[in-house]
Amino acid sequence: MGAVLMVEGTSQGAGTSLVCAALCRYFRQAGYSVAPFGAKMLVKNMWAQDFGFLGWEQFLQAEAACLNPTVNLHPVFLLQKNHSYDLYWQGKIVAQVTWHEFQHAFAPKTLALARESLEALRRSYDLVIVDGGGNPGENKLLQQEIITLDIKEKLKAPTLLVADIEWGGMFASVMGTFALLAEAEKAHIGGIIVNRFRGRQENLLPGLEMLEELVQKPVLGVLGYYHQVPLATAPAQLAAHKEREAAYQLLSSALQEQVDLSFVMQLLT
């Protein structure tokens, strides 16, 4: 069975999707067969395939992993429509539900489907990179990101925490996240990746050392701000294939330069 690596963020939009895409490309180039898995319940943008729809981010991650998207990459998700959600099931819209209705009528089936899909991927690939949803500290409390929670509970998958530093408050968001986790949950988190840093790293380093001391986890690296990467934009503005390829390469190089990937590798073995 293939290994599973979970990527979670300090908040929505912290950059897990980009980091997952970078990891997909890096491990693919390192010679492993890699598949992304979309665990986020709420999707803002989707992308059409012959089997139906999947999240936009999973489409890009599949490209980064050099594979054709399949229904297993993102088997179930919700697309927000004002006060209700469109429920997508294996790529097809099957119901329009409120959150309450989803929880009562679909949650158990959702977990069963997500587990099956993830298992299928693990049978075919060396490594599955899971794009997790929500803040891990708040997830248990809110019970919204049920697939992410389920994978962590069932598989005890090693987890990377992506901490967004763009508008500041990064130290606090990491500190608060760890304060909300039980000891067993903390144990799965292998390390922290700081994302969207624009300043001088030398100014940040003393703070990172203090943070490592405070939460007893290593900071595995600091990624910059990849606004030139044409991935994060909405699907309507899909960049040309050549540009997307260049972007995956850039992300993979950045990851290799900035992040302690040998440590990540150790987490997986």
Partner: protein, 303 residues
């Protein structure tokens, strides 16, 4: 540094878990709320890093936020309201503006390392003292997060200003990105005890209306910090967005648009209405050592 006259204004400070959580907007609303309640109110932000500036009547340059907040308070903006303004002027270069006037231009790296801390604190204390003498309430806005552990000594804008002003602090978290609890709790945990002692409570901004979720998060936050959540403010369009809306309506109702622009104060009233409704105002007055509004409250704008 103890240069405050005995007569002291009531003060309240808004700090945030990060930039862009809505501190400025909330401080603007506070300025209009207290003004409508019959208090002579002034805004204050000790230290600001911004390219968007506002020219005071005497030609001084301050942050645009304090200019707008002064408008919301129906007073003339003065340089005391933002005595330290750091303005990026070129890549790697900042201009330091002290009380509205250019003080010097320096390399960003030089600015980060220079030891002018005492001078800056002196400037802040003097401007604050002047506002506290002239006004009855001073609404203070922080900058960024107070919990940047790599910058805590240099950070004059947040807790150091709060201590100078002896201000109760409300910490604002962004509810919209599923990280508000981690951000607020983490900020609390990273503050040293003397700074924590100034915290009066939390506010959530960009609240999506999910009451059950709010109650859950507030319960945990209060249990961990022993501090109350004093309000959850819905996602409000900021004032500039409101102006864009006005422009959009142009084609439809030209005359009304002209009317609206003439009454720019209406935007401040709409903002103040929404924020006032979302907050526990009696508790906020209590933190400030005041009994409550001096005169009856709104709503000022009929919706």
């Amino acid at each position: 540094m103890e240069r405050f006259p005995k007569k002291q204004a009531a003060v309240i400070m808004i700090q945030g878990t990060a930039s862009h959580v809505g501190k400025s907007m909330i401080a603007t609303a506070f300025c209009r709320i207290f003004t409508r309640h019959g208090y002579r109110t002034a805004p204050f932000k000790s230290w600001n890093m911004s390219v968007n500036t506002y020219l005071t009547a005497d030609g001084g340059e301050i942050g645009v936020g304090q200019g707008q907040q002064a408008e919301a308070a129906r007073i003339k903006a003065t340089v005391e309201m933002n005595p330290l303004l750091i303005k990026p002027v070129a890549p790697g270069q900042v201009q330091v503006i002290v009380r509205g006037r250019p003080y010097k231009s320096v390399d960003t790296a030089v600015y980060a390392k220079e030891k002018q801390h005492d001078f800056y604190l002196q400037v802040i204390a003097e401007s604050l003292a002047r506002l506290c003498w002239e006004y009855e309430i001073v609404v203070i806005e922080g900058a960024g997060s107070p919990a940047e552990i790599n910058l805590q000594e240099q950070d004059v804008a947040n807790m150091q200003t709060a201590h100078l002003a002896k201000a109760p602090v409300l910490l604002v978290g962004d509810f919209s990105r599923n990280g508000a609890l981690a951000g607020t709790l983490g900020t609390y945990l990273l503050l040293p005890p003397k700074d924590r002692a100034l915290l009066g409570g939390f506010l959530f901004n960009k609240f999506d209306g999910e009451e059950a979720k709010l109650q859950l998060l507030a319960k945990v936050l209060t249990a961990e910090t022993k501090l109350p959540v004093l309000g959850a403010i819905p996602y409000l369009k900021d004032l500039t967005l409101a102006e864009e809306d006005v422009a959009k309506e142009k084609a439809l109702r030209g005359e009304e648009v002209a009317e609206k622009k003439a009454d720019s104060g209406r935007q401040y009233d709409l903002l103040a209405d929404a924020v006032e409704k979302a907050l526990e105002m009696p508790q906020i007055y209590h933190l400030m050592g005041l009994a409550g509004p001096r005169k009856e409250s709104g709503p000022w704008v009929q919706s």
